[in-house]
Amino acid sequence: MIRLVLTRLSGFVLTLFAASVVLFVTINVLPGSAAKSALGIHATAQAIQRFEAQHGLDRPLLVQYAEWLGRILQGDFGTSFQNGVAVGPELLKRLPVTLELATFAFIIANLIAIPLGAWAARRHQKGADRSITFLATILGAIPNFWLATLLVLVFTLTLRWLPPGGFTPFTVNPVMNLKQMIMPALSLGIVSSALLIRIMRASMLEVLSTDYVRTAEAKGANSRTIVFRHSMRNAFIPYLNVAAVEFGFLFGSVVVIEDIFLLPGVGSFVLVGIINRDYPVLLAGALAITLFVLTLNLLVDLIASLLDPRQVKARNS
């Protein structure tokens, strides 16, 4: 087990390092000059030169990367080109917003997917199964940013139940926080549930066709015992694998939804970085999201191995 953890950890560090190289190189070949963006389009050549020298943008890319990585490892994410604000603390301030949104959306997605997926599997090839599968197809085709727009149209503009956007921390005003978070979370969660319904259904179908379930049925166990005691627990292992990846996907998809609902999270931070050609902001935001997704994948991998010893055996052999 220790060997497995160490192998996974070393893979994680290597992937993170490689990801940082890819992000740094991709972002630093941006065609729009950061200097022009920060100083305005009427900036003189001299001012641009001074700006680039000041921020080290005139040095070779490799040197810039080494310096940036060195600073990151010490927890220094640099300062924004636009307003000189330290990026690290700003990122830390925004992280809980995105985390809350992604978690909330993930809970909604699971609340929809687990019962519907399990029910569809139990009623395999019957009316309920077909309806649920069709519903999953419909949900999967809805663009989350369109759903967000429709929710605003209904709940904000028509019914006037919910605010159009903004963010109030949960600790300051929990009711307002939930009111502001429900529509963004629903937009992400409902669409995400489409894939999870299919996965839950497929996992349950596999378990329901196993010998021990058939034996339980033959012994006269009732439907509830079969679903909850014998099937669901085992169906959860493959389901959790996909669900965790979906959680990472949710964390990465917040860019558009945060923009719509004016949520000050990491996604909108990345967007601001792109629009302003603000390298430190863009890099820090993109790296934070990637780090989160990679960490989640690592944890899922390890937990799945713990839950299913066959995976450890298979890997070791």
């Binding site: 941006l30 940013f145 369109w146 429709l150 558009v256 967007l271 792109i274």
Partner: protein, 278 residues
């Protein structure tokens, strides 16, 4: 494989037919936009700003008095162009990488698949957004960015399918008669791994439409006044209270298009491999 023996099996092909119908409508609109659209998508008419649906303008007009139906029809062109090129980039790039990795194995496979895994570690929309920022905002760059996002998925599928084909006797036979590696890859392996790749392409098409719309929605894809469903929705949000149709129409168009490709992909998967769905 096909349902030829017992005549046409409607039940088995129903998803393909329904998906094909929806995709057909979108493709028809995209290809024949100049003939199908009642107005030019750029014709301004300030006397008709933000008018609701009427006999003259079936889906109303936008904030500049342009016909919303005509703009939605022309936007299908942008979406289809982007999706087609993006899926081609992903399909060709991914298939080449996957086949090469599986065929040569060893270090080549390790290096290629590690690079692919690395691309997979970025959330798709984040990767697309960062690539768009790097390449610059334009429709062509959106195609390239989305195509790169697709490469890992196609690579993994092509590698797995190639590995299965490599175990077949005809590959051994091809090797024993001295056929070159390139010839084996393109003449013997490629035709035999196309079926799952085509199914994946249909699903990727749907995702490409979604990604392109998201990029345009954020202002990183097609630029106004060129219509795209994403930028129409983005503009429409500013007039939601007065003109809700500006938000509903482009979203509905995206939904129909994505649903069509998803149904087509699901249907093709069922038809080519009935066990996969379970």
């Amino acid at each position: 494989m096909m349902a030829a023996t017992a005549g046409f099996d409607f039940h088995r092909w129903r998803l393909v037919l329904l998906g094909g119908l929806l995709v057909g409508i979108v493709l028809f609109a995209a290809i024949f936009a100049p003939w199908v659209a009642p107005y030019s998508p750029f014709d301004l008419d300030v006397t008709k700003m933000l008018q609701g649906p009427s006999a003259a303008h079936w889906l109303g007009t936008d904030e500049l008095g342009r016909d919303v139906l005509s703009r939605a029809i022309y936007a299908a062109r942008v979406s289809m162009q982007v999706a087609l090129l993006a899926v081609t980039v992903g399909l060709v790039g991914g298939t080449l990488i996957g086949m090469t990795a599986a065929y040569f194995g060893g270090l080549v496979e390790q290096a290629l698949m590690r690079a692919v895994d690395l691309l997979f570690s970025f959330p798709a929309i984040l990767l697309a957004v960062v690539l768009m920022a790097s390449l610059g905002t334009s429709v062509l760059n959106a195609m390239i960015a989305i195509g790169i996002v697709f490469i890992p998925g196609f690579s993994r599928l092509a590698r797995a399918s190639t590995q299965a084909v490599l175990r077949q006797q005809y590959i051994e036979a091809a090797r024993s008669i001295g056929m070159s590696d390139v010839r084996i890859i393109f003449r013997e392996i490629l035709p035999n791994i196309m079926a799952p790749l085509i199914v994946e392409a249909a699903v990727a098409f749907a995702y490409a439409v979604l990604l392109e719309s998201a990029l345009s929605f954020l202002g990183l894809g097609a630029q106004p006044p060129d219509p795209s469903w994403g930028n129409m929705l983005s503009t429409g949000r500013g007039f939601m209270a007065q003109a809700p149709w500006l938000s509903i129409v482009p979203g509905m168009a995206m939904f129909i298009c994505v649903l069509g490709f998803n149904l087509l992909g699901d249907g093709l998967r069922d038809v080519t491999d009935p066990h996969m769905r379970e």
